[in-house]
């Protein structure tokens, strides 16, 4: 401003304020916005504006702007309905595929025809009842998402359409249908996707989708010129003994599909947004894909948002990892590209006037492709960097994102895993583990029951024991299922010699994961009954309730063999256990100055075993 006021000449000067307006900072501008045209700074300095200077505010809404501000500005209200998607698609076509671009004019015309014939029907369908989107999108965003996919397909030499005119046309139709499906429909909730299926099929009869699954379950195989289910691409799971549990990933058609799109869009430098309920594997898919690509030319930059994240911290974390290309450009080293992955992006706290500062910062990055460096407030362009966002739908601590931010993304909503799919995932992990460590045959046979019962108890507990204000931590998610399996994976074949012990082990792990979280006797009793019911119905074994939940409860731990390889096993001999604990306590007191005097009654013993189980 100061520079502008000091300048001369007849050229108009514009200062653009891009971002939310609230009643505080803009109040200081009142004098500059009215006839005084004088900016009064906090330090008492006054800057008189020249008549050639103008100010422009670009905001999403005026919900929190004061009348004083509103009345001082002229308003222009731009709606998407008025603009429509046509201008965007036309611009896209002419800029991305200029006349000299080797794309057949016939094909170009065909694409435009398809756009005109199908987009409105698709958009209407997406907006109609009962289709829902967990994270709101706007029509232009959907069209843009679709263009992104189409563009990458048409531009990549590997996927460019070839062959004679009829095959080209057929392929193009199929690719268009594919982009249409995942551009417009990928952000829909699970059930809505089924509704959207018929719309796609109706309009793209020429693409000849196979019957059976929904259109979301197919990809277009260009070699064979037909649609194939994603599940064909999925590799069989192989259990690797040495791999840490957290790195185990069982590939499914869902993880494969989304990993594929992530790679595809990253290749085109398009921002991506993954959403879906907690535990559906959003972060895992992203992490795995990024790690895989990191072996080639990708530099992942991981960020994790929480309620306390502020914009300075965000900028520091990103800026830290970017390389200085030149004085005004940040980016990646030659031959590399950056991917900024922001997990839980909608967690930052909403300030009084409804804005989320870290989000506004990221919006600058995706929308404008740069950041203001904080020392001198100098604009720095950020190149070769793509943003990947990931968040569960807004609820609880999660707030809806500013539409001006989320509109930049290709949105994908990961479906919730069905019980059948979960069963397959965990059975293959558990089965692989039991087999590769040569567990006894009858123990191996229990794997289906163990996984099935774990999923059943998880489904039941998340339905019946809901979180309430006094029990707000009763939130169960798929991680809990995996923790039970992880617990079982701590054992060795020598300690689990027969199915009875294996069953008890499962009871123990399930109790540690689920029951230990319950706060009152009533809930705990409910859980015990559920377990007993499952034991008799699924496991068909005759373990008495008193054996595992009586005065001495079932116990697993490695304390008896802590010096001999830490074998995690069932502990039956109560006196031996207490003796071992007392011995350890004595050692502790000998070694430390703060002496502890502990009595190992049943509850204390149980607690210490729980802590040890977590520490292992």
């Amino acid at each position: 401003m100061r520079n502008g006021a000091g300048g001369s000449g007849e050229d108009r000067e514009w200062t653009v304020f891009d971002g939310p307006v609230d009643a505080l900072w803009i109040e200081n501008m009142n004098t500059v916005l009215d006839d005084n045209m004088t900016l009064c700074l906090a330090n008492g300095q006054r800057i008189k504006l020249r008549p050639e200077m103008r100010m422009l505010f670009e905001v999403n809404d005026l919900r929190v702007a004061s009348p004083a501000t509103v009345s001082r500005c002229g308003m222009v209200y731009l709606t998407q309905e008025e603009l429509g998607w046509e201008p965007y698609v036309k611009t896209w076509m002419t800029t991305k595929f200029p006349d000299d671009y080797p794309l057949n004019p016939v094909n170009k015309e065909y694409i435009m025809e398809q756009f005109e014939g199908t987009i409105n029907i698709g958009l209407d369908k997406v907006r109609s009842y009962p289709l829902t989107e967990p994270i709101k999108t706007d029509n232009l965003q959907l069209v843009r998402s679709m263009c992104n996919i189409l563009e990458i397909f048409l531009k990549d030499p590997k996927t460019q359409i070839k062959g004679d005119d009829t095959t080209q046309k057929k392929d193009l139709c199929a690719i268009f249908a594919f982009a249409y499906t995942f551009g417009l429909g990928s952000g829909l909730s699970d059930k809505s996707k089924d509704y959207f299926d018929s719309t796609v099929r109706e309009q793209f009869k020429a693409a000849s989708y196979p019957a059976g699954f929904t259109v979301f379950d197919y990809y277009f195989n260009q070699k064979e010129h037909c649609f194939k289910p994603w599940s064909e691409k999925v590799r069989d799971f192989e259990f690797v003994k040495e791999k840490p549990f957290f790195d185990i990933m069982v590939e499914t058609d869902i993880t494969y599909k989304h990993g594929y799109f992530l790679e595809l869009l990253l290749g085109g430098g398009k921002p991506i947004f993954f959403t879906g309920e907690t535990g559906v594997g959003k972060s895992v898919v992203i992490q795995n894909t990024l790690n895989r690509l990191a072996e080639k030319d990708l530099v992942p930059i991981n960020l994790n948002f929480s309620a306390q994240t502020d914009s300075k911290r965000t900028q520091d974390s990103i800026g830290d990892k970017l390389e200085n290309i030149s004085r005004k450009v940040l980016g990646a080293l030659a031959g590399k590209r950056n991917a900024v992955f922001v997990d839980d992006i909608n967690m930052p706290m909403v300030e009084t006037y409804g804005a989320q500062p870290p989000i506004e910062l990221l919006r600058l990055l995706v929308d404008r492709g740069g950041l203001y460096e904080r020392a001198e407030w100098e604009w720095k362009e950020v190149t070769n960097t793509t943003l990947i966002a990931c968040a569960a739908p807004p609820l609880g601590g999660r707030s809806p994102l500013c539409p001006r931010f989320s509109t930049n993304f290709n949105l994908f909503c990961l479906p919730e895993a069905t019980e059948g799919l979960l069963g397959t995932i965990f059975t293959s992990i558990l089965g692989g583990f039991l087999k590769s460590w040569n567990f006894a045959e009858p123990v191996q046979g229990l794997k289906d029951m163990i996984v099935g019962s774990t999923i059943e108890i998880y489904t039941k507990i998340s339905k019946e024991l809901r979180a309430t204000p006094s029990k707000f931590h009763y939130s169960f998610n798929l991680r809990d299922v995996s923790k039970v399996v992880q617990g079982i994976l701590m054992t060795k074949n020598v300690s689990i010699s027969n199915p009875d012990v294996a069953t008890k082990l499962w009871v123990n792990e399930a109790c540690r994961v689920f029951q230990d979280r319950l706060t009152d006797e009533e809930d705990r009793e409910w859980f015990v009954n559920e377990i007993m019911e499952l034991l008799s119905r699924t496991f068909k074994c005759n373990i008495e309730k008193d054996d595992i939940f009586g005065s001495t409860k079932v116990k697993f731990g490695d304390i008896l063999k802590i010096d001999a390889g830490r074998v995690y096993e069932e502990i039956r001999d109560q006196s031996k256990l207490i003796k071992a604990l007392e011995g350890q306590l004595e050692d502790y007191n000998d070694a430390s100055t703060n002496k502890m005097n502990l009595v190992f009654f049943e509850d204390a013993v149980l607690h210490i075993l729980r802590i040890m189980r977590s520490l292992r």
Binding site: N302, L303, N304, S306, Q308, T309, R313, D316, S317, D320, D343, T519, I559, I562, L581, Q584, L585, D587, Y588, A591, S592, M596, L598, A604, H607, I608, I611, M612, L615, R616
Partner: protein, 97 residues
């Protein structure tokens, strides 16, 4: 997370359990005027010990030690990504390398 009324022996049990696994038991030491900077320094030490020297540590924190919300932010970062952004400055990085 251990929940229970005060004096039920939560910390003692953790001390004993971590001793049995030969983990180093660490806690922040609250003194007068404990600030974010002190906490940062503590986390840095913790990271140096565990990450650089490879020691196994049981870092315990009680509710009374959460003086600032930003402590939780750091811990959340450690739990989720395993790092705290902008913790190490130039000379620390040189030391690690």
């Amino acid at each position: 997370m251990l929940i229970g009324v005060g004096g039920s022996g939560k910390q003692s049990l953790v001390r004993l359990a971590s001793f049995m696994y030969e983990f180093k038991f660490k806690q922040i030491e609250i003194k007068k005027d404990y600030k974010e900077k002190d906490f940062n320094e503590f986390i840095k030490e913790l990271m140096m010990e565990s990450g650089v020297m490879g020691k196994e540590i049981a870092f315990t924190m009680t509710d009374s030690q959460i003086l600032k919300e930003s402590f939780l932010e750091d811990i959340n970062n450690i739990l989720n990504t395993g790092e705290v952004p902008n913790l190490m400055i130039g000379e620390d990085k040189d030391y690690i390398n």
